[in-house]
């Protein structure tokens, strides 16, 4: 079994069904891109894995064990870290405190610490004691990613980290991405902007209205296929 798998994952918001039986596989050390239009269910997929939305136990498997029913705090401790959509830094905490709280539930030794995160994102070190509300969008995103890295996760889930950022800033984030995979960590990237995401990914899944419409390696998929899977007919 791979590091992270979903089997027939469904998700509901009240009576509204957002995901219909999603089967995905994330291997150790892989970078997976989840693409799809607005509202396709990409964020819901990540939230379900992270435990913010409940699912049946056997819908989500991590390290060979079913984790579907576990609460988010517990899943985080197992080594799955989510960089939430919209960054969502804690306004009452400084930049450095945001990073520190990232390892509150899981203080596992590993390649990521305050020093190495600052080395990865020097801009953060310059603003370490600043209020997060004074950071630029790009800096906030760096802080959000750094916060998730502090727990040395085995799987890093990134929800639309390019959203609202200038292309050059996004390039900078994606350039740093290969370093996220230090020591065999896996990365799942959810993106609306598919160009950069597909470029650096090992495999791609496409969601359309809550269903998987495409799966494969970037090299094997044509633009027409992706276009069709993304937008539908």
């Amino acid at each position: 079994m791979a590091l992270l798998e979903t089997h027939g994952l469904e998700a509901f918001y009240g009576d509204f069904q957002a995901l219909y039986g999603i089967d995905t596989v994330v291997g150790a050390g892989e970078t997976i891109a989840i693409i799809g239009a607005n509202g396709a269910g990409k964020s819901t997929y990540l939230r379900a894995i992270a435990g913010l939305i409940g699912s049946p136990a056997h819908s989500v498997w991590f390290d060979g064990r079913p984790i579907g029913t576990k609460p988010a705090a517990e899943i985080m401790k197992l080594g799955i870290a989510l960089v939430p959509e919209g960054r969502r830094l804690f306004p009452s905490l400084s930049v450095e405190e945001n990073l520190l709280v990232g390892r509150y539930g899981r203080n596992t030794p590993g390649p990521w610490s305050l020093d190495t995160v600052y080395a990865l994102f020097p801009a953060l070190k310059a603003r370490r004691h600043a209020a997060t509300t004074t950071l630029s969008g790009g800096e906030q995103q760096m802080a959000a990613i750094g916060r998730a890295l502090m727990s040395n996760p085995r799987v890093l889930l990134c929800d639309e980290i390019s959203l609202g950022l200038a292309p050059i800033v996004v390039r900078g984030l994606y350039d740093a991405l290969p370093q996220f995979k230090a020591a065999g960590a896996s990365v799942v990237l959810v993106e609306q902007d598919i160009a950069q995401a597909i470029q650096i990914s090992d495999r791609v899944y496409c969601l359309q209205e809550g269903r998987l419409s495409l799966a494969g390696r970037p090299a094997e998929l044509s633009r027409e296929q992706i276009h069709l899977a993304y937008f539908g007919s």
């Binding site: 992270a50 913010l52 705090a73 517990e74």
Partner: protein, 289 residues
């Protein structure tokens, strides 16, 4: 002139006691947006716990308070874990009504156990100890100790909140409960720890309540009002603001008493209402909120 200066100084000292009452309330509201209507009665409960321990073990009030601390922490933790965590959510009514019901239960439970008799925590010789400031003004040792304890408690709370991992967890949970879970923070456990911590502050407040004046099971609600007024006047989100609020209410009361002894409590309430009209967010509010 000295009577007014004296009233003013006594008011500051009284404010220390009110700040102790208010600190626990402020702590809980800051973290979980819960206003505990039973807060005043819990202070009285703690006073009775101290009284009982002191009587059973033959201890002085200070030692009895120290012995009471772990017991009260456990009660607070359990109360939050078993009861109050269930009331939290979007709706305003459940925590309000549950804590209101709790207030009635505690008050009447204490009446059953201890009757309506007035009680006092006897501290011996230091009760009458006072320090002369010259000009005919003297400060009681216990009131001074109360104020000093209030400052110490606030320093400790600030230390916890701003210099420890637990404090970061408190603030993160208050900011964004969903993302806090993504940090591995179990919010119901954090809330229970916070309530236990608040109970510790409540117990310290109870020590000084019981030493300063007589107490009985029915005085809880009024202490809640003073605590609440101190928090609002000081401004939400700041422990030092709560101290300032307590002092303002205390001074209003003692100055009012100087004008007319029957007006003491009324002046405190009026000072609160005036601040509420003029500065609805309090005098030293935090930016967020």
């Amino acid at each position: 002139m000295t009577v007014w200066a004296d009233a003013f100084i006594q008011g500051i000292l009284l404010g220390g006691l009110y700040a102790l009452f208010a600190a626990g309330l402020s702590l809980i509201f800051g973290i979980m947006r819960l206003v505990n209507l039973a807060h005043g009665d819990l202070i009285v409960l703690a006073a009775f716990v101290i009284l009982t321990i002191a009587a059973w073990l033959g201890l002085d009030p200070f030692a009895a308070m120290l012995a009471a601390l772990p017991i009260m922490f456990a009660i607070g933790f359990a109360l939050q874990h078993l009861l109050l965590n269930r009331t939290l959510g979007r709706d305003l009514l459940p925590p309000l009504l549950v804590t209101f019901g709790l207030s009635i239960i505690i008050e009447n439970g204490l009446l059953e156990l201890f009757s309506a008799d007035s009680q006092r925590l006897r501290a011996g010789a230091i009760e009458t100890l006072s320090i002369g400031l010259g000009g005919g003004i003297a400060i009681g040792f216990i009131p001074l100790l109360t104020l000093a304890s209030a400052v110490a408690v606030i320093l400790a709370l600030n230390l916890i909140f701003y210099r420890t991992a637990l404090g970061r967890a408190f603030r993160a949970t208050a900011d964004d409960i969903e993302v806090a879970q993504l940090m591995g923070i179990d919010y119901s456990r954090i809330f229970s720890v916070a309530m236990g911590l608040a109970f510790i502050v409540v117990t310290i407040a109870a020590l000084y309540l019981g030493m300063r004046a007589n107490f009985d099971p029915t005085i809880g609600p009024e202490r809640l009002l003073y605590a609440f007024e101190a928090v609002i006047v000081g401004g939400l989100g700041s422990f030092w603001g709560t101290l300032a609020g307590g002092i303002i209410i205390g001074v209003a009361q003692t100055v009012g008493a100087q004008i007319n002894p029957e007006w003491q409590i009324l002046m405190g309430h009026l000072a609160f209402l005036v601040v509420l009209v003029v500065r609805p967010r309090g005098l030293f509010p935090r930016a967020a909120d």
